[in-house]
């Protein structure tokens, strides 16, 4: 088992390295001159050159890459070109809202989709199954921002149950923190649950046809035990895989949901940085977000070990 975890950990390293290279190349090899953009539209030649010098763009590319990587390794992401603040500080302030939103919405979507998927498979072709499948199809096609605005209009304006937006830090007031996150998390969680619901239903349908499920029923076990202990446990693997896939979707959704609900998270930071052409912030934030994504997938890989004993012994 330790070997398996170590192997997974080592496999994540090249991916991270490539993310670093990709992010770095996007900024440096793309057409357009970041120094000129940074210096502003009416800067003259000298100002652009000075900006280039200040940004370290005159160093050879490998040196620049080394500076970037070695900075990141010790948590130094440089300074924001626009405001001069430390990028690491800017990101640290924004991590909590983004992570909270992503985690709560992921939890909501798992709480919606797994029971829905299991029950839909159990009662295949029933009205319940039809409704679940229609909702799942809807979840695929609904744009996050549209759902967000509809929810705000319904549950914050017409029926003032929830705040229409904003964010309260966990340390300030925990109740308000959860209260402010419920509506945006539901929006994201509903849209995210589509894929997980469909996967749960599909794998459950296959597993429910297996002999051991028939045997379990034949020996008189209750349906709950059959469904959860015998069927779902065996259907869990692909479901976990899909949850891993959908993390990327959640992070993409967070960027938009933060805009709709005026939540000061990493997504807002990037969108603001882009409108200010603050490439220092852009490259660091993308790198951090990608790192979070790789880490979460690593955790999911490790979860397999607990769900599927075969992995524990095989490796």
């Amino acid at each position: 088992m330790q070997r398996y975890i170590l192997k997974r950990l080592l496999a994540a390293l090249p991916t991270m390295a490539i993310v670093g290279v990709v992010v770095f190349s996007i900024i440096h090899l793309a057409p357009g001159d970041p120094a000129a953009i940074m210096a502003g539209e009416d800067a003259d030649y000298e100002q652009v050159e000075a900006m280039r010098e200040a940004m370290g763009l005159l160093d050879p590319i490998p040196v620049q890459f080394w500076n970037f990587v070695s900075g990141v390794a010790v948590g130094d992401f440089g300074e924001s070109i626009f405001s001069g603040h430390k990028v690491s500080k800017l990101m640290l302030d924004r991590v909590e809202p983004t992570l909270s939103l992503a985690l709560i919405s992921l939890t909501i979507s798992i709480l919606i989709s797994i029971p829905a998927g299991v029950l839909a498979a159990w009662k295949m072709n029933s009205i319940f199954d039809r409704i679940v499948m229609i909702l799942a199809l809807t979840g695929y096609a609904v744009p996050y921002f549209a759902l967000g605005y509809v929810m705000i209009i319904l549950f914050a304006v017409k029926l003032p149950l929830f705040p229409a937006g904003g964010y309260v830090y966990m340390s300030e007031d925990f109740g308000q923190y959860i209260y402010h996150l419920l509506l945006p998390s539901f929006v994201l969680g509903f849209a995210g649950s589509a894929l997980i619901t469909r996967m749960t239903r599909a794998t459950m349908l296959e597993v429910l046809k297996e002999d051991y499920v028939r045997t379990a029923r034949a020996k008189g076990l209750g349906e709950t035990v059959v469904l959860l202990r015998h069927a779902f446990k065996n259907a869990a693997n692909p479901v976990i895989t899909v949850i891993g896939f959908s993390i990327a979707g959640f992070i993409s959704g967070v960027v938009i949901t933060e805009t709709v609900f005026a939540i000061p998270g990493m997504g807002r930071l990037i969108v603001e940085a882009i409108s200010q052409r603050d490439f220092q912030i852009i490259q660091s934030t993308i790198l951090i977000v990608a790192m979070i994504y790789v880490m979460v997938n690593l955790i999911i890989d490790i979860c397999y070990v607990f769900v599927d004993p075969r992995i524990r012994y095989d490796s």
């Binding site: 090249p14 991916t15 991270m16 390295a17 490539i18 993310v19 290279v21 990709v22 992010v23 996007i26 900024i27 793309a30 057409p31 357009g32 199809l137 809807t138 695929y140 096609a141 609904v142 744009p143 996050y144 921002f145 549209a146 605005y149 509809v150 705000i152 209009i153 304006v157 229409a164 469909r198 996967m199 239903r201 599909a202 349908l205 990327a248 979707g249 992070i251 993409s252 960027v255 938009i256 805009t259 990037i270 969108v271 882009i274 409108s275 052409r277 852009i282 993308i286 977000v289 990608a290 994504y293 790789v294």
Partner: protein, 307 residues
Amino acid sequence: MSTKSESQDIQFQGLRPKIPTYIAMANALWRNPNMLIGLIIILLVAIVALLAPLLIALDILEDPFIYDPLNRLLPPGRSEEGKFYLFGTGPLGRDIFSIVIYGSRVSLFVGLSVAIISAITGSFIGIVAGYFSRVDDIIMRFMDGIMAIPGILLAIVLMAILGPRIENVIFALTVVDSPRTSRIVRSVVLTIKESQYVDAARAFGATNSRILMRHIAPNTFAPVIVQATFLFASAILAEASLSFLGAGVPPDIPTWGNIIGEGRIYFISNSNIVILPSIGLFLLALAINMFGDGLRDSLDPKLRGKI
């Protein structure tokens, strides 16, 4: 899975007449009402999109490019001047109904282009990686790296660097979508590569390029087509999201995402600006997904209910 059905096809080729694809598709449409409804909606939107310039030229529709500050933020209905605005007007006085009609052009164009280009590049990368094991690791690690960056973020960054143009939106979304397609194609290629008929072809002295073109590429067609339909829908949503965030199509071009982004700050007082174009977006994406589901069920029954 495709390996098995393919080898069965070969065994039975002499015994059972093969049903042409288009008849199989027509059958699938007939048996699957969801797929038919999806197709009808897509075709309707396509017809409207094609006719939009004509409707504007004939003065049936307002010109969605014209700003009319005097008539900004009107609710749906007739204005004081007696002009009829079915969906009301936006913050710059543009007629929202015309934008919804005209915006479908951009959505369909971007969605189709991204789907087709990603399907082609993704297939190419996937076939090369799957068939030539020497480059497999390098290519797929690189694809993993791109996939680790959440799609919308990667697209935003690319747009920030390339600048707001429709071509750039298509390019950015293709970069985002190709790796996923390549992974699907690669997994298909890996199973087909080991099949007996490929061994047989090789034993007969077929070259790599012949095996790739005659035996492997055709088998990736079904999953790629299915994937392309889903990409079509997701690219339409992604384009709207980019425009909504102000990192997509230039703001003067009337698109669904642009008008929703424009109306964002007015969504409580003038919710029509955000909601009505969103419904168009939702219906089109839903229709494409319904069509895609049906297509997948008929082309690849083993995947029913998944993806």
